[in-house]
Symmetry: C2
Subunit: 330 residues, 2 copies
Amino acid sequence: MQKKVPIPAIISLDTIESVLPEIAVFNAISQGFQAYSKGEAVIPPVGEMLFQQPPGEVHIKYGYLKSAPYYVVKIASGFYQNPSLGLPSSQGLNLLFDKQNGLLVAILLDEGRLTDIRTAVAGALASKALASTQVRRLGIVGAGIQARLQTAYHQHFFSLEEVIVWNRDMAKAEQLVLELQAKGQAARCTDSLSVLCERCQLIVTTTPATSPLIQADWVQAGTHITAVGADTSAKAELDPKLMEKADVLVVDSLAQSESRGEIYQAAEAGFVDRDTVLELGQVLAAPALGRKNEQQITIADLTGVAVQDLMISQAIFDHIKLSNLSLIHI
Amino acid sequence: MQKKVPIPAIISLDTIESVLPEIAVFNAISQGFQAYSKGEAVIPPVGEMLFQQPPGEVHIKYGYLKSAPYYVVKIASGFYQNPSLGLPSSQGLNLLFDKQNGLLVAILLDEGRLTDIRTAVAGALASKALASTQVRRLGIVGAGIQARLQTAYHQHFFSLEEVIVWNRDMAKAEQLVLELQAKGQAARCTDSLSVLCERCQLIVTTTPATSPLIQADWVQAGTHITAVGADTSAKAELDPKLMEKADVLVVDSLAQSESRGEIYQAAEAGFVDRDTVLELGQVLAAPALGRKNEQQITIADLTGVAVQDLMISQAIFDHIKLSNLSLIHI
């Protein structure tokens, strides 16, 4: 006699947004990276699909921790013409399955939001682990969703006297500056990336650029850069020579850095010795592996790892299960 | 001002089962294979994930037709100890997304059922395209879900005087025979695969075997075999020499046959010249490419292609949209 398969929990974006403030996302994702770098996760290669008309891309990230009850499949898309239609460019969802039997346990209808958030959380974790504690000014390259979220999540760890925004389209940079000021954050924009690099020793790059924006000789001693924009083989925001100039190079996934991200491009061009590159989970577990002094240049190149999707989805689902079962269904 | 993203249609297995009889699945999937073989589809490599305790596997298949409105992501798992827990070994779901903007359009909570059905539909289409029209006896290797569904979908195209079932566990073969007889289908089982091959000139293999079950010299002139069990690099049901002996070799996907299925194994062992292998969509579009006479041995090696998942999911969703909007939500 076969059992009836239980209907999965279906969790709306509103529910996700309402519980997110109660989730210890930094801790969950830091633990995930550390487990991943210790070999405690199974994370197959990223699935990727491209579209032409209109241009778009889909990433499918999936995997599990050997010690955790679920496997995750996360689908996230970027359709960069969406904002002109009044829609966010990011879309997608997270699925949790029972890894004992394959049953679908939860559908998180996050519309790409959890991908955006776990990316910002990882960026802030990387900057906290690697940037100088003296940093008081944040340079943000780009003026989209990640520019906003990276700023917000960096504010958890850094007392920012000023945020400086550069964007190819200056009107959007000005808009972001107004938003930050409205929230009480001193901010201004610049049309010169070299000025941004001169003024900021903490820089987060968030664009889908396919040729480098930041030149090696603009970057000052003591700077940390977290680069989250380049997540495919074709994208790059940093001059490959900057990777050679850097003292500490960190990636979220050594495996993924063999085919995507800044380090991939720089290694292909011969500017990086892969053996010197660290994984973020290693640095989070042993901070002494990171910055050694106030003069070093450090770079974190993040392409996004399924273990982040697993940790944030699991934390939200577990929280909903424990706190209020009535939240589970739409 | 951003638009509210619409909640996707969430379609339960009960709803799917209730509309399936009204869906022209053979036509939909045949059209899908033909479009795929004409280069009108974008189907990236299959994502795969394995589990150890308990043993299980997950396949993620995804893609789109250039001319169709949706992209599909299908997650299907096989946990072969599930039946001992009262659960089907197959689990999973299908997701349809709008390929203009990435919005999630429909969640088909099919619990692996649509994967099972589109596999059986493809098997029957392949057998119809390649088997002798004289065939009156079907040999079924295996006694699980696919053994049942392949028999049922083959009955659409073949007037079967008898079904002969072989299975490693004879008790399960006997159970299947009783079920078929109860539905008015003459059937019996055998503990000898060579006898099955001698008696049946239409054979469907449905097992997860990892070493060949059917030996080359057992197979008679005029036989057609549809092999659906081997869908990874490690699985095989047919003697590689049988591929050399066959006159016509057909796969559902030439690209996937480079890394999975019977043809993969036989080509690696040097028994198959890849240049002679046809794709099912080619044969469906031009049946003269298939069997030339009643003496030829033909083999269809099916590993399962995302275009099948797309076509069956789209057909179900379109049918529900047109027929009764109230069916859309659970």
